[in-house]
Amino acid sequence: MKLRWVFSVLTTATWLLAGPVSAEQIGDPEAGAKVFSQCKGCHQIGPDAQDRIGPHLNGVFGRKAAAHDTFDYSASMERAGADGLIWTAKTLDAYLENPRALVSKTRMSFRGLKDPQDRADVLAYLRDFSDNPRDLPEAEPTARGTDHDLDPTILAIQGDPEYGAYLSNECLTCHQSDGSARGIPSITRWPEEDFVVAMHAYKNKLRPHPVMQMMAGRLNNEEIAALAAYFKTLDE
């Protein structure tokens, strides 16, 4: 009997945990089509799309900023292109969150999409109008991988929560210690591993947010582990 109980509990657990194994699509293109209604006033997309107030958005993934010949871009966007800005899921996500944070004098007068899900969905919609990797293997990715390149020894570092409490002062200027998330995401009670992975993703400029890239960029491995240990228990 006892064995059977263990077995059934464990198989249930297996079933529950087996769900989220797959890589994540960038977002839901159907939901993104709705979000795109906010963009339609200026941008066209699809078979007959033409430049209007903004450039048409066919083939935008993988293209250098300001590289669409027939459109007259702002000097600021031209400069971003010359500096090597390529439109990818990461850079477009940052641009759509706050256009002027990425390209300071862009003519795109849009307040930005604050909801990460809206951005993900509209990016998935836009992605469908760019090159398919099946046809051009070098085309931009269509999903976010589940892998990260983090050295297991970095993940294994035991963080010092006291040191983390000290370091956290900088974080708490923006992120709330009670875990509330008004415009700035909550960072309390995260599993330590997720915290460490996310911070290293900023540090390595894989995650796009410029402020977080800067903040994470000057933290060393021990400091990130310490912050992870501190924030894990902060709001319990």
Binding site: F7, S22, P133, R134, P137, A143
Partner: protein, 422 residues
């Protein structure tokens, strides 16, 4: 990472459970039976991994008409003179002798999915618990005006390895001085996205030495192609003035051929040619269609295990599969075969099943020791195999980098054929 650890834990539990009740899920007969149709990068790899990893628990039959398999990958290097045909030929002896795979040299001519049997041209009937189809490509009838399979001797496709490849090289060598070589390039999707353009490079290399005033015309229905900037840079530097690529915008898709007269008409303009490579639009190898697992030209599959959307007991690998973002290539087929073999073995023997991970790299040779590559990693999502990361060679790389890339491709070739056949 966390998710992976979780699935390993979960599978470990399943494995522990199976110790208690070691059931082989054969339906009322001895060992579970797997039939694999097609002995290329997908099928040979799948058969080898199934037998190697199951250590005799599975009865695996590989159906492949050819006794000698000539790889389509690297066949362009034969055209360029960097390989001889024997370098590309492989046999199935080791798969039979070392792994106990039942290798049957015959054509599969029908699949009865209700009765779960495969019929061979020789009349034999093979029952299966799981069927893996890896039939590669066939050509869409009428895709290029004036061309049919009956014309493949006058105007070879050379897009399946072996005699077609040899024929095309002989025809290039027989071109008169200053003659014209034409290629009709295929529309998307097709086997080996950079393949036609590597082929152009290799034929240019050959002509540059033997027939330097010859010309190459490529009629292409596409507006752009894989590694385009790398090839264009290479053609300008190595074969200046020799290659004329006519893309979609200049009528490259408006093509017909006359194999008897040896003419090619592009956007209304007829040109006399002296060798012509017609690579028509492609579709899944015919047995996939006969098995009833195709929709349109290809067989839709589930990304997690390569099972056909139409039938959970039928799997489709490689070029024939419509899986999402992976290009159709030998590397892709080999990668998909390992995921599939892991899933099939798990389904039949309750062995552990790991999350699907795929990768691909396509190397191309532009000239001697001048290799370029494009590659990516892929994962299974609910909808498809999705690209998650990638890389591509850059224009302006040093000759050392290009040489290293070429050497890497040689290493890959040795590796994949060992992974298929040894």
């Amino acid at each position: 990472m966390k998710l992976n650890r979780r699935i390993f834990l979960g599978s470990g539990v399943a494995a522990a459970a199976s110790l208690k009740a070691p059931a082989l899920l054969a339906q009322g007969h001895g060992k579970p039976r797997v039939v694999v149709i097609g002995g290329g990068a997908g099928g040979a790899t799948a058969a080898r991994y199934l037998t190697k990893d199951s250590e005799g628990a599975l009865d695996v039959t590989l159906v492949e008409p050819s006794r000698s398999y000539f790889t389509c990958f690297f066949s362009n290097l034969y055209l360029g003179g960097f390989k001889e045909i024997d370098d590309l030929g492989h046999t199935y002896g080791t798969l039979a002798a070392k792994y106990g795979i039942n290798v049957v040299h015959d054509w599969a001519v029908d699949v009865d999915r209700d009765g779960k049997t495969v019929t061979l041209a020789g009349g034999a009937s093979l029952p299966y618990d799981k069927l893996i189809l890896s039939p590669g490509i066939d050509f869409v009838d009428g895709a290029v005006g004036g061309w049919s399979l009956a014309a493949q001797n006058a105007m070879p496709h050379a897009y399946k390895g072996g005699s077609q490849t040899e024929l095309l090289r002989a025809q290039v060598d027989a071109m008169p001085e200053g003659g014209v070589f034409a290629m009709v390039a295929p529309p998307n999707p097709y086997r080996c996205p950079p393949g036609p353009y590597e082929r152009v490079s290799m034929i240019a290399h050959r002509l540059k030495a033997a027939n330097p005033t010859a010309k190459i015309i490529v009629a292409d229905p596409k507006g752009k192609f894989s590694k385009q900037s790398l090839f264009e840079e290479g053609w300008a530097n190595h074969y200046p003035g020799m290659i004329d690529w006519v893309g979609e915008d200049f009528g490259g898709g408006e093509v017909s051929v006359d194999p008897a007269a040896m003419t090619v008409t592009i956007d209304g303009e007829e040109t006399e040619v002296h060798a012509c490579n017609v690579i028509p639009a492609m579709k899944a190898g015919r047995i996939a269609e006969m098995a009833g697992v195709t929709e349109g030209n290809w067989a839709p599959v589930n990304a997690a295990d390569m099972s056909a959307k139409a039938d959970p007991d039928v799997y489709v690998l490689g070029d024939a599969a419509q899986q999402g973002d992976m290009p159709k290539s030998g590397f892709s087929a080999n990668s998909q075969a390992k995921v599939c073999a892991n899933a099939v073995r798990g389904a039949l023997t309750e062995s552990r099943v790991f999350p699907a991970k795929f990768s691909n790299t396509c190397w191309s040779l532009i000239d001697a020791n001048n290799g370029v590559k494009v590659g990516a990693t892929y994962e299974a999502t609910e909808e498809k195999i999705a690209k998650v990361d990638g890389f591509i060679s850059e224009v302006g790389e040093t000759s050392d980098v290009r040489r290293a890339t070429y050497e890497e491709s040689e290493g890959w070739y040795a590796g994949i054929v060992a992974d298929m056949f040894s």
